[in-house]
């Protein structure tokens, strides 16, 4: 956390400035992509924009020094999720939905009110990276002090996820397993035969055009 080493590192002002600029630019891009996702009418384009959104989030996590989270976001959000969405998209008929222009006033009021409440809520959030934050006063310090000694593993995130919170991680794996099971059952894949090769144009590279 940069604010913690501020006292010892003479170059901390410029580091903070660069971080501030990087964060703001990335958040600006994030907002632009979010608006574009809402406005765009082609499903393929919005899937691609979601991938870009995930990649930008991953970049923000890197700036916040959360390398493991960034890794996951980039691999899952920008990688697998996009591919699965494309595979699902290829199953849809290629008709375009008509944009509806009416009745946009009350949704707008609702969105603005919710957004205002959320921003109001962030005022009470503790300062970013402060040592005396609530999250750092509980077991976090225990992990920092004990994890290297007790597990001998340099990556603290791994030791927490796999060892201290092993039961949670087992639950996560079960969630993924259950998701796979659900897809297997819903798509009737119990007796699935692979009928014909999937070609690049089948997953919507030709922009939502239906094959066959």
């Amino acid at each position: 956390m940069p604010p913690l080493k501020a006292a010892t590192d003479p170059g901390w002002v410029s580091t903070l400035m660069i971080e501030l600029i990087a964060n703001n630019v990335l958040l600006l891009f994030l907002a632009i992509v979010a608006v574009a996702v809402v406005r765009v009418r082609q499903l393929l384009v919005s899937v691609m924009l979601f991938g870009i959104y995930s990649l930008l989030s991953a970049a923000i996590f890197v700036v916040m020094l959360a390398a493991d989270v960034a890794f996951t976001e980039a691999a899952v959000g920008a990688g697998i999720a996009t591919v699965l969405m494309l595979a699902a998209l290829a199953r849809l008929p290629g008709e375009k939905e008509e944009a509806r222009a009416r009745g946009q006033f009350w949704p707008l009021v609702l969105v603005v009110a919710t957004g205002a409440l959320l921003i109001y809520g962030t005022i009470d959030m503790p300062g970013f990276g402060k040592a005396d934050n609530v999250a750092h006063r509980g077991v976090a310090m225990q992990y920092v002090e004990r994890a290297p000694k007790e597990t001998g593993i340099p990556n603290m995130v791994t030791s927490i996820l796999a060892s201290y919170r092993g039961l949670d991680t087992l639950g996560e794996v079960l969630v993924i397993f259950t998701a796979g099971l659900g897809v297997l059952l819903v798509l009737g894949g119990v007796h699935t035969k692979i009928a014909s090769p999937l070609r690049p144009d089948a997953v919507g590279i030709r922009d939502g055009e239906r094959r066959g």
């Binding site: 990688g79 593993i153 796999a162 996560e172 794996v173 699935t192 692979i194």
Partner: protein
């Protein structure tokens, strides 16, 4: 598949690197960022790229759907089994300290096995979901 020449050549070049990267993230997760989950996703992404470029039947030849079904449960069983070993030895569920003479060595072994289980389940489940979606594609 005579068309998509550039795609094919690029994919052939990239797929081994992606798979190697997946293995690296899997077995290096204790030292650097990453772990079983990320490794599984990267590994399956490499194989999905193979299916996208060379066809789903080629992937099914390499990794049959039955193998995916079995592997996705093998990962969960490896995770839970590692936890059960410590119960059998006389400790609590997922207490890796009992897996070896030395508690730190036990933690190493336990975390390695558990991460391997996560990686196997994630990789095979992601591939399974993709295969099911893509295989249905032509029946619609």
């Amino acid at each position: 598949m005579t068309d998509y020449l550039i795609l094919r050549v690029t994919a052939k070049f990239l797929i081994p690197i992606i798979l190697l990267m997946g293995l690296y993230v899997q077995f290096h997760g204790e030292l650097g960022p990453g772990g079983g989950f990320q490794a599984g996703v990267i590994f399956s992404a490499g194989l999905i790229l193979y299916a996208l470029v060379f066809g789903l039947d080629r992937l099914s030849d390499a990794v049959p759907i039955v193998a995916l079904k079995v592997l996705s449960s093998v990962g969960v069983l490896l995770f839970a089994g590692t936890g059960m070993i410590s119960v059998i030895v006389g400790g609590e569920f997922l207490d890796y300290n009992l897996l070896a003479e030395d508690p730190v060595a036990g933690q190493h072994l336990g975390i390695f096995l558990v991460e391997l289980g996560v990686g196997i389940t994630v990789a095979s489940t992601m591939l399974l979901i993709f295969t099911l979606f893509a295989a249905q594609n032509d029946h619609v």
